[in-house]
Structures are given as C-alpha cells and as structure tokens.
Symmetry: C4
Subunit: 208 residues, 4 copies
Amino acid sequence: MRTNRIETLCDGIFAIVMTLLVLNLSVPVVTDEAELFNKLLAMWPKFLAYVISFVVLGVIWSFHHRLLDVVRKSDGWFLWMNICFFMVVAFVPFTTELISEYRHWSAAIVIYGINSVAGFVLLYCQCWYASAGGRLVEKCIEAKSIRELKAIFAGGALASIVAIAFSFVNTNISIFIFAVVYAAFVVFVVMRGTFNARDAQADTKQDG
Amino acid sequence: MRTNRIETLCDGIFAIVMTLLVLNLSVPVVTDEAELFNKLLAMWPKFLAYVISFVVLGVIWSFHHRLLDVVRKSDGWFLWMNICFFMVVAFVPFTTELISEYRHWSAAIVIYGINSVAGFVLLYCQCWYASAGGRLVEKCIEAKSIRELKAIFAGGALASIVAIAFSFVNTNISIFIFAVVYAAFVVFVVMRGTFNARDAQADTKQDG
Amino acid sequence: MRTNRIETLCDGIFAIVMTLLVLNLSVPVVTDEAELFNKLLAMWPKFLAYVISFVVLGVIWSFHHRLLDVVRKSDGWFLWMNICFFMVVAFVPFTTELISEYRHWSAAIVIYGINSVAGFVLLYCQCWYASAGGRLVEKCIEAKSIRELKAIFAGGALASIVAIAFSFVNTNISIFIFAVVYAAFVVFVVMRGTFNARDAQADTKQDG
Amino acid sequence: MRTNRIETLCDGIFAIVMTLLVLNLSVPVVTDEAELFNKLLAMWPKFLAYVISFVVLGVIWSFHHRLLDVVRKSDGWFLWMNICFFMVVAFVPFTTELISEYRHWSAAIVIYGINSVAGFVLLYCQCWYASAGGRLVEKCIEAKSIRELKAIFAGGALASIVAIAFSFVNTNISIFIFAVVYAAFVVFVVMRGTFNARDAQADTKQDG
C-alpha cells in the first residue's frame, strides 16, 4: 500500500480541524460602533483558542508530514495507527477551547494533557513501527533522523504528563510547560524542517 | 478515466464525515469546576458516538482504499457506484448518533442496519463490477484477493440483515452482532492491510 | 499551469458541498419510540433535499471531471471560470433545500433555475474556451467528444430556462423538466463516462 | 521536503474557507410566497459577503498557486510561513462579513485592512524567502517573474495600509481602494495566470 491516500485523508482532516474554531466566530449583531468594538474585544478567548489550536495543529502536522516523508509504504497496522491518530487530532480544537476558557481549573488541564499525551504516543508508535527493522522506511534514511523524531515524540509525551501532574499544584505551571514545549517544537520544525535523504531524492526527481 | 479524482473526492468526503460529530462537541458554559466535570461527563454519548463513527468509517475507508488499490481505471458505472457509496457513507455519523442515543429501540437499530447494508452492498457491487472479466482491475491481481474482498462485503451485509432481524427480539443482540463484525473487520484490516501485487509494484516504482 | 491544483480545490469544494446538507440533520430529542419514528418521518424533506443535492452535484462533478480529463493545462481565464463555477456550485445545496421545501412557489423554482443556468453556462464557457483552437486540450482529443460535451451543457442551460418559464404556469411542469434532465444526465454519465483518448493514455501509463 | 503536501493542505483549507459563508445561509421558514421573497431579499448582505469573500479568496489562492508553481521544494521556514498564511486566510470570511455589515464604521475597515495586510506581507515573505539566492525556486525561473510577484504583494499591502488610514476620514474611500485593488488583481490573474518556465516544463511532461 502506498502512503498517498493516508496523506490526502490526513491533509483533509487537518484542514477541517484547523478551521474548526473559525466556524465558532460569528460577527456580533450591534447598533453602534463602540458596542461592536467591545463585543469584538470580548471574543478574545475565541481568537486566542483559534491561534493556539492552529499553531499546535501546525506543529503536529509538520511532524506527521516529516514522518510520512520517510515512510515508503504502509500496511494494516500503520493504517490503523493513523486512523487513531486522526481521531485524537480532531479533538484538539475542543480541548484547546476548554483550556482557553477554564485555564485555572485542573480538570481542563488534565483533559488537554491526556489529548496531548495520546497524540505524541501515537506518533511515537508510528515512528517506532515504521522504522523497526527498516519495515516501512526508505532504505537510505539515517538512523539518526529516526532517533531524533522518536526523542521529540517521547519528550512531548513526558512533558505533557509532567504538566498534568503540576495541574494539581498550580495550573499556571502546567500552562507554562505546554507553552515552552510547543515553542521549542515550532523552533525545531522551523530550523530542521526536512530529512536530507528524501530531500535529495525529491530534488533529483524534479530536476531530472 | 483514471481513479485519482475519485480518490481525492473520497478522501475529502471521509475527512469531513469523520470530523462531523466533532462539530457537535461544544465546550459547556459553567461557573464552577464540579459543574464542568459533570457537564463533560454528561456528554459521554456524544464522545462514544464520535469514537464508534470514527472506527466504523475507518474500517470502510480502509476497505475502499484496498479496493481502489487494485482498480486500474474507472468508467461511468463505477463512478456512479462511488457517488452512491459516498451518499451512504455521509449518513454514518447521523445513524451512529441515533444508535448511541436510542440503542434500546428497534427503530434506531433498523435505520442503522439499513445504512450498513447499503454500504456493504455498494462495496460488493463495486468489487464485482470492477473485477468481472478483469474489466477495471490490475491484470496481475490474484483472483483470491478479489474473492476475499467480496466475501467480506457479503458477510458484512448479511450480518447487518441478521442484526436488523434480531432487533425485534432483543436490541442488545443486534448491537453485539455489529460490535463483533466491526471488531473482526478492524482485525482483518490490521492483519492484511494490503494486496501483494500492487504493493510489489509500488515498491518497484519508489525504489527504481 | 497544470490543472492538478484546480482538481484538488474542486474535489475539496465538492466534498464539502455534497456533505453540507448532512450538517443540517440532527438526531431528534424524544421520549418514546413512536415519537422518534414520527420525528424521523417528519424530516423527509431534508433527506430528500440531501439525495437530490447529492445526485445533482454528482452529475456536475462527473461532467467537470470529464472536462478536466481532456484539459492538458490551465491559464488565467480558465482558472477564473473555475473559481466562478465553484461559487455557483456551492449554492446548489441552498437552492435544492429551497426547492424541496417550497416547490409550489415559482420564486423557489426561479432561483433554483438561475443557479442551474449559471452552472451550465460556466461549464459551456470552460469547454469552449479550452477547446477553441486547441488552446488547452490534449492534441489527440476528437472534436466529436468536445461537441458532445458542449451540446450537453447547452442543453442543460436551455432546459433550465424552459423550466423557469413554465414555473409561472405550473411549477410541477418545471420540476418534471429538471427531473427528466438530471435523469438523462445520470444515464449519459453512466453509459459514456470517459473519453477514449485519455483513457488509452492512462492505460498505457499504468501498464508501461 | 516536497511542496505537494503544503498544496493539498492549502487546497483543503481554501475549499473550507471559501464555502464557510455558505454554511451561514439557511432557507427561511415562511408561510407565503411574498414573505419568502422578502426574507430572501433581506439576506442580501450575506450573499454579497459570500461573493466578495469568494472572489478575494480566489485571488489569494491564484497568487499562492502561482507562487508554489515556481517553488521546487520546501523547508522549515517556508512551511511555517505557510501555516501562518493559512491562519490569516481562514479569517477572511469573518472580516468580510464584518465589513459587509458595518462598512460605515472605521473599526470594521481597520480589522479588514489588518487581515489584508497580514496576508500580503506573508505572501511577500514567502516569495522573498523562496527566491533569495535561488533557495527554493526552479533554477530556470526568470528573475522578472519573481520581481513581478513581489511588486504585487507589496502593492497589496501598501494599498491596504492606505485604505486603513483613509477609514478615519471616510470609509467609502477605503472601500473604493479595496475594490480597485482586488479588481486589478483579478484582471492581472486572468491576463497572466502563469509562469512560462514551469508551463513549458508541464507541457513537455504531459506530451512526452
């Protein structure tokens, strides 16, 4: 099985999920300009949730993109790990809205954290399953790149667990941990967005 | 006609339909943490409907994916079987929500069952039409793989009819039948996710 | 410019528009089984609108698919004809719901008819623009196939105009005309779903 | 990294965002034909917002399409510029609805203008980043084409800033500026929809 249909389904799901919180934004009905301004200001948790959700989904999409770039083919297990992964991803806007409205309560942090852990664990499993014994990956891919991806996913899952634990002490610490982790991930994706092996191949294909 | 546009349309429709029940989930408006917890708990039938719907659609998508993997080209009949199939697929979230809320009433089971039968019959027709006389399939595909797919789709349709019949006796038996069938299908997809012929071809293409 | 991105955008838009009326279907909240049955029955105009909309969009998608199959490349004019076409297509669920609820009033028929005329005129323009002087089409395509497509689109537009005119006499005649036209189109798409030239090419590519 | 997944995600997001305002259109519930007519007429700001939004998104999609046509590969920075760009694009229906309902108030114009500026600045950054030192673009692309695209994006951003400034004097001037700019862009996209280099290449590929 080729991976192209998983990619199309994946991009379709991310496109919908990324724009999901926009569906919540509706133009306020007002009678004067000051009221419009105030009502728009009052919508800030929705705007914030939208931006956070978009960035988090952007990070996850980039990592999944990066992973599938080195996966040469798919099989039944890999397919189902992806379907489970998409199920978890589609919850991100819900849990993001939850945390952006109730960030002082550990219930919101715990649910957000579980969603985050589930996502990273499924990414780790995909990475491990695809690369173990070179099962589904490109032959030319360096072991170092795979180890790097695995470390990121394990790190994300661990940080989320720590954030969940701190939510019972102080929810601000939890939010700080999530913020640092995602900021670090954005920096990582920006700085090293690509594997060299496939990249070189892509160049050759398009030039040749 | 190539099948690539049917695949893109299919993946788009599955992406939307899979995330359809997520659109129903909205963060509850509450004033204290205990209330938030209770309101989230009270949403469990929606969460359950979402998970069931995602798994069922994941199974159907995998089988359709598997089928189109061996279909080399399309024609008018095949196109329309697919459009009818998509129409049936888009009903899955509705009937799933129906069954998850009213599982003790045979009306819900019957409607869910009809949806299920229609889906499997359309998949069977696609499979039969594409493979009869090697009309649309890869030349190198083994007859055994096609027979296997046909048996699965016929089995799914029959099991759904049996479940509908039992709904007038005891709806729990019907639900048990659906659960067993879909669990068996998930296992099948996971264990044998791919046809060997195309797979080998795909390998050759990507390596060569 | 290649046409592949127009195709992806097109399939995405059709996928959303096809599932748009499903978004309107929500499971009724009831207290006993008879009420559930009655409320589901009372939803029949919504179910009907969904089926009509899906079939109509399926026909239009098939024709557009058929057209783009012979279009080898795109340019600025063709791109904008497509964007205007998508704008018209996205109105189909709205006008279909309108006609399924208010089919005895000429206002609903007129709006539905205008939407239909606009769609066929834009398809005709795309077809004419792409084929005039062999501007954007495959060199090997037969003039007969293009003439056939043009005749279909002109026929659809004319029939819609006639249906609009009859709406002021008797709206049932208008609905009968629309039904006959779309039934004829479904038959046409099913019987002759493909151009021979590209088909042969596609076969060669995938076999070779 | 190849750009094909950015393209699929992009087309998915544009497909959703383009059809977003259609989701707002619902068939009015009425009891006589005159009321239907009046209620449909009263929906004109929604129809207008839909058309404006579709045209504006069509222009932006065309430019992005045009840009990615000459971008041969992607990297981490380019990926994130795109994700930020999609985030801005998904706001267009919201700000368009805002301006179509409250076009006499500078608050609506300012928000619309900021959205517009952000979009053009991100397109300019993508263009500059991809082309600087031939980082990500086709080798055969002419410097003139890139300069042209950069001039358009800079022009769009500047015109939007001017329109924001005029909104404090007279909002009609601002709206006139936006209208002229987008009309000019539509004309530009229609007249010169493609780069010659890639076009020639695409022709060769599909003919060969």
